[in-house]
Symmetry: C2
Subunit: 462 residues, 2 copies
């Protein structure tokens, strides 16, 4: 408690818990990127919306920068506090507030982990269908701040589609209740959608009302081995036209090898260069036949070399682990992550071009490809060679990202499909958003955060 | 061409067509409201995005207010030009630009009528599922500006859910391409959603890329007669839990009588106070049995007094006409329209309170109720008695809307579910949006429309 300002903060918000231990500053000052040295002023842990509002008003009075903080599982540095900011952790605000069976909505505090939201929905016989591998650690508020995607987007869309209402504290310290969980509301600008994906730069999400839906039908999971990259979109088309796809995920053998080294079970005797894991609704004979027809059509064309279909939930989980374990298996290599998207129709040309580009650019690095191919979203992870300095590695990777960004601009894609811009992709924002758009974004930030205190330096420089 | 500024406009945009005939000024200066006397400066009809940009830049240079104009089927005065504004009609920009089979998107100019969008989608074996009665006249750009809802929201959501990308000209004269039709794009503030529902106050939508989907399954249409208002939500619940509802629409006998007087065919021998028309997926015996089970459960409970189910497409269209013909049948009474929404769970209490309120408030007026009850959206039309002065009528209606707005505030509802705020509901915006929210909206408008020229006086006063 060395900084005298902190006592004034506690005076302003007596319910607040403050942490200033060096271990806490390090723990709360970083996310899943490992590129910046955490250096926050302190960690503020509010228990109520009123506490959050008091913190933001205090920050305005004292001109202290704030970094809103959920589960810090972000991959773009959006929750990094490396410049003396006060970290505003929603960790204590992690409870479900209300379930409404008629509206099929669940209202939760922003710090609730995604998995806890899943469980609360399931207890009511419903599901919150946004899902991804960090579900146990990430907070629902953070998923809203990045408009998180994940493995079910092809069927259910992004986080944005499931947010019926939001309560936020703006950078000016006002509490706004956005959209009131209404289905129909044409009463001016939809500020709810402005906050979704704003990466904590406009204010803090403190509560959310999410829509729930019926549990999915029974599904099967299929793992396909592909002989080449070029056939990927044909395989996707063959499956999409015959089945209701719940997921369609792609990864390279290089990715698989890392997951196998991490303890997963080998799916095929032979090694294949590319794999797809897909999940689709079954439940009647016609659908099972359609799945087999898709598989056989791909085999006949030579687009698929081998395949395995889940015979049990346990086997389905095993197949999924091959895809979902990638991020964790790569973590120790401090990978440089690209998370890009193009329209599905632009994918073949973009894939070919990118493969050629990276083959030339990264001959010395191991590159792991995977992604949500059915949504046009590709993850390209470059692994740091042992012994290489991290700064050198990042500098080399960024040169390639500059080329990738130019390619994205030509293909009308996005430099961030689902991770957000944060610090990591800030330098490449102009590949995706025009200078005029960025100027509008800056103007909007000034309206909601007049002193520029909300997550400064993230997304763009102000 | 009396105004000397208009020559400078033609110099700035030689491709522009200008209309200044009194009949044109009247025609293009109003929408489906009939409360304001049209008095635009002139009508500008651009043929290209460049023309639109030139008009907006000219307007900024000469400080001329603009009213963007589509099919002018709006019901809230959003497209009224009564104060010497230049009407910017998108009428000539009414073509499909591109269909993409892989992405399942259709890119169109903003002036394309909704029905033409439907037809263009159907030619590709797909559908654009947003639909309502003014489909033949309204422009797709206008439906985006109000985030139009309609009769399929219960199944497909509002316009917002179907807009993959937008091209807009901002009030500052910049052309922005928003979201590039990407499925996943987490690269800063989603300005696309800011423009959807902004009622022409931030800029002009000039092109849109809409998502298409598979044609709906075979459906049946059922008309139900209800003995009282109180059972309405029970009937809805009984059908929703058993069937995939494509529509669930309610109307009073008073509404039906107007449609019958307009030439529709009487559905029942007896008169019932309330009716529901619902459409639901069939296609197999289980679903048909579920529909009969829902009907019989309601009959047993006494919630439904009679019913008819469509035996053919022609009969389905006949049943739909009873609901869809209401707006047209009422038009000659210059109705005062309320278009309100609450959460579905709040509907029973809100309905009871509103019925009591209006019964007391409007004893001398005929009140026609109908709406999209499955979305929490109620239309309350008050009919002007013959011989009454329109100004007196509106004044009396507005006194009641003040009470209704107070009720909506208590029930956390919206003063405009789908028509937009425009001029008609501007005085009641604070029932739905807080003073802080409205201040943020004003600030955002200043960013995108620095001289306050885009549809001034609509939505809020600046």
């Amino acid at each position: 408690m060395s900084d005298p300002r902190l006592q004034t903060l506690l005076d302003a918000a007596p319910g607040l818990r403050l942490k200033t231990d060096p271990a806490d500053l390090e723990h709360y000052g970083r996310d899943w990127t490992r590129r910046w040295t955490p250096a926050p002023l302190a960690i503020a842990l509010p228990a109520t919306v009123e506490d959050v509002q008091a913190v933001v008003q205090w920050a305005n009075a004292h001109r202290v920068a704030l970094v809103p903080s959920g589960g810090r599982t972000g991959l773009s540095g959006g929750a990094v506090a490396a410049n003396g900011e006060l970290v505003l952790s929603l960790e204590r605000m992690n409870q479900a507030i209300d379930f409404n069976a008629v509206d099929r909505t669940l209202t939760v505090q922003a710090g609730m982990p995604l998995e806890a939201v899943h469980n609360a929905a399931r207890e009511q016989g419903l599901v919150y269908p946004v899902d991804f591998a960090s579900r146990g650690s990430c907070a629902i508020g953070g998923t809203i701040a990045t408009n998180a995607g994940g493995i079910r987007v092809i069927r259910y869309g992004n986080t944005r589609e499931w947010i019926a209402g939001l309560k936020v504290v703006t950078g000016a310290g006002d509490v706004l209740e956005l959209n009131r969980a209404l289905i129909k509301n044409s009463s001016g600008y939809d500020l709810r959608h402005l906050f979704i994906g704003s990466e904590g730069t406009l204010g803090v999400v403190v509560e959310a009302t999410v829509r729930l839906t019926d549990p999915p039908p029974p599904t099967n999971v299929m793992l396909l081995a592909l002989p080449s990259f070029e056939v990927l979109m044909q395989v996707f088309a063959a499956f999409r036209e015959r089945l209701q796809l719940e997921a369609f995920e792609f990864f390279t053998d290089c990715a698989l090898q890392h997951v196998l080294a991490h303890g997963a079970q080998k799916p095929f005797d032979e090694v294949h260069p590319y794999y797809v894991v897909t999940e689709f609704a079954i439940g009647d004979e016609a659908k099972e036949a359609a799945a087999m027809a898709a598989f056989e059509a791909c085999m006949e064309q030579g687009w698929v070399s081998d395949g395995v279909i889940s015979q049990s939930d346990a086997q389905a989980a095993q197949l999924w682990r091959l895809r979902e374990g990638i991020t964790e298996a790569l973590a120790r290599y401090v990978p440089y992550k690209n998370d890009v998207s193009v329209r599905i129709s632009a994918m073949p040309a973009f894939l070919a071009e990118t493969q050629a580009l990276l083959g030339e650019a990264y001959p010395q690095f191991e590159v792991v490809w995977f992604g949500h191919i059915g949504d046009g979203n590709l993850h390209i992870n470059v692994l740091k060679p042992d012994g290489m300095e991290n700064a050198d590695f990042v500098t080399q990777c960024e040169q390639v990202t500059t080329l990738l960004a130019a390619s994205l601009k030509r293909h009308q894609g996005s430099i961030s499909a689902e991770h957000g811009i944060g610090l990591v992709k800030k330098g490449y924002l102009e590949s995706t958003r025009s200078a005029d758009e960025i100027a509008v974004m800056r103007g909007i930030k000034r309206v909601l955060d007049p002193h520029g205190l909300m997550n400064p330096g993230k997304l763009f420089d102000t």
